[in-house]
Symmetry: C3
Subunit: 315 residues, 3 copies
């Protein structure tokens, strides 16, 4: 039971994945985030909780959007945040990732936010840093994106109040999605009784059954009676590959339209991690419609990231 | 009379263009900027006016120089500013500009500084954001660059005290210049009785007469007796096009030399929005000469941007 | 005796090179840095010494690592720091470096941190800025990298207490190394009695004798009895050139191995400015070994840069 995310006192040391995190820890993050929702709505949206802390946005894979959410969260906690886009720098000079991390650690870093195209990068870093440094995985390869999953859980709880009576469907490219993987683990841990995945066979991982989900290849069937629809982004490169016939074809079978959404519960909510491909995995009428909570997800994402940073810094 | 820049109380909600802005609003910005000139000369160049505000430098077209002026202005007001260079990010992932803006708005943005290569981009964003968010146009296509025009007006007033007895000449590529357009509207509104444009025929917009300016194709004639010479930057790409014979030719007819400047009033001031092409639109003896106020423009530009941000945040 | 680094009162106005700096000034920087080592180890790693100061990281040559050290140092002093990567911006619009600097100066800059691929760039800037502006050279061509040399001196003093009884060897590509040049001047000024350089003939500057160093082409001989080994980074492009046979060959003769290190004093320390080419100029067993102080160098580098900034701002 050696969980690399927990310290000796069984408290959260790093946030690397939602897999294996006990429900009380997930709930503590959600509860702490509730208190930060208020902060972001105040006139002066700042608290001095992390003043003087040095946080590094360590992005080995570019993502302005995700980088910005962490930068805003850190600044609202009064931390000093430094952005490093590593692809174009030391890595090209041949320095290894761990040398880079060791160097930044030697500058008395307090926290690393890591995004990397390779699965396991954040774990590798977490294993090597000194015990006073915390690592947050901001997306690693196909593996995990825990803050995204946590903000999704926060949003679900805000709209549905409880996890124990929900049917949740995740729709799209499950195979390549770190978001889906992190959502499935979080939903299961938090006690959602029925998690469905809806996907073409070519975009489904072979071991998906082991995750305790119900598989649907027909979207209409899969959406019937669900409370929450979690759409996934379809990467453009998939559409060019042999796995998919065409964007039009994909939209026809797996794009979320008002017609298909009508099969879910009448008060079902629609979520998407962004950025959206309108007209490919979701139509605009749904994305901008009454049941969409896509923008609240973004709002809550700041509060959830502030909560994660604060909890880690306090452990 | 639906001015998209004003809110219901006829106060400035967005700064998108100098066109259509009433003189009292322009003067309020200039007067407020006066108070900030002092701040930037103090030992601690910071005031807490915008503490906790989230300002986004949203640059869809790269410009280190303009981005820096807004970044410095925001930091001197104690705001939290986040730089986003969008060309290389979400846009390439196929997200629309408005989805990007909606996302940042959902993070409780207070202000967007927008630069875009397409005319109208800042207006489009201003029309879509929530009422508590303010938009500043930092240059859109050939359309407008209002903070540049305002800092020019501030500089003119500092050196010439009053607008009502001035002859002002704008020289260069009027056709492609958002700066020229914004200057003409501001000068006219502030009561400058004679605004001249000096330009080759190929670099003059066809409807320029409607703007209430006097057109000169001969620079010597156009400069006679003017109080202010506003030089424009010649984009390198123009020199390669059919619109201009060569850089040497251009300099001969439209480059500002000491000889030509001698035709203006003896105390005429010379301005340029930068960056300058020395030896193309202006010779170094003039750029660095006694009559040049090009560097004071930059200094006042910070104060003017601080004024615009403060006024918007207060409305 | 017109030293461009000193003001009229013989105090440090700019830090451009360690060459020609009197020992008391070097020692004052090291002593001031001692006080900042404590700050970076505190829970709130911030002091308000440079609050409201505007510092510009002016990088004409990209370097995430060096930029980060100055950014962290400035933030720990509560300064406002703006990063400018100039290669991709105004320079491509044809603006000269001095126009860029004049512009930023006009924004009431207090300090420029300059990195440039051409030797002399920081000196040129220092000669042109207004007297209230300070320039720090963060590496110019093959010429100088004074903050690196100063943090090396700080590290040596921390581990060896005194400079007056040391044998120090600098190993590698002396010819192209601004770090080596700055180290040699600093070591000599601080009274190190024996400075050795160890290098293949093709990577040694012809005038190296004038610097008061002892030259070795055989690494085993050169390392005998030394107290400090300063390794240099081998630029990848050198390995492709006619100056070197191959990386393997280089490692065989000039790579620091445990075997070779055993020839130095038993308590000799090993240093490297980073980023390291493991297996080319240094083997991992040494880089990560007991005698390596490579990570402490990085830690002390922040304190030294804080010291330089504070001293300059006070002069």
């Amino acid at each position: 039971m050696n969980n690399p995310q927990l310290n000796k006192n069984r408290k959260l040391q790093h946030l690397l994945t939602t897999e294996g995190l006990p429900a009380p820890i997930l709930l503590k993050i959600l509860d702490t985030a509730e208190s930060f929702v208020g902060v972001t709505e105040r006139d002066i949206k700042k608290v001095p909780l992390l003043r003087g802390k040095a946080i590094f946005n360590l992005f080995f894979e570019p993502s302005t959007r995700t980088r910005t959410t962490f930068e805003i969260a850190a600044k609202r906690l009064s931390a000093d945040i430094v952005n490093l886009n590593i692809a174009s720098s030391s890595q090209s000079k041949g320095e290894t990732m761990l040398d880079t991390v060791n160097n930044l650690s030697a500058m008395h870093a307090d926290m690393f936010i890591v995004r990397h195209s390779q699965s396991g990068a954040a774990h590798l870093i977490a294993r090597h840093v000194r015990p006073e440094i915390h690592v947050i995985n901001a997306g690693d390869g196909r593996h995990a994106h825990p803050t995204q999953a946590l903000l999704d859980m926060f949003t679900i709880r805000r709209y549905k109040c409880d996890f124990h009576n929900l049917r949740v469907a995740i729709v799209g490219d499950i195979l390549h999605s770190r978001v889906a993987r992190s959502q499935i683990h979080a939903l299961t841990t938090l006690g959602v009784p029925e998690v469905r995945v809806i996907s073409p066979k070519t975009l489904l991982p072979s071991k998906v059954m082991h995750l305790g989900v119900h598989v649907y290849h027909n979207m209409e069937e899969g959406l019937k009676g669900v409370d929450v629809v979690l759409m996934l982004r379809l990467q453009n490169e998939r559409m060019l590959s042999a796995r998919l016939p065409s964007a039009e074809e994909y939209f026809k079978y797996y794009g979320l339209t008002q017609e298909k959404l009508a099969l879910a519960k009448h008060d079902a909510i629609v979520m998407h991690p962004g950025p959206m491909n309108r007209g490919i995995e979701i139509e605009s009428a749904v994305a901008d419609g009454m049941q969409s909570v896509i923008l609240p997800q973004v709002t809550y994402g700041i509060a959830v990231r502030m909560a994660v940073m604060t909890i880690l810094a306090g452990n």
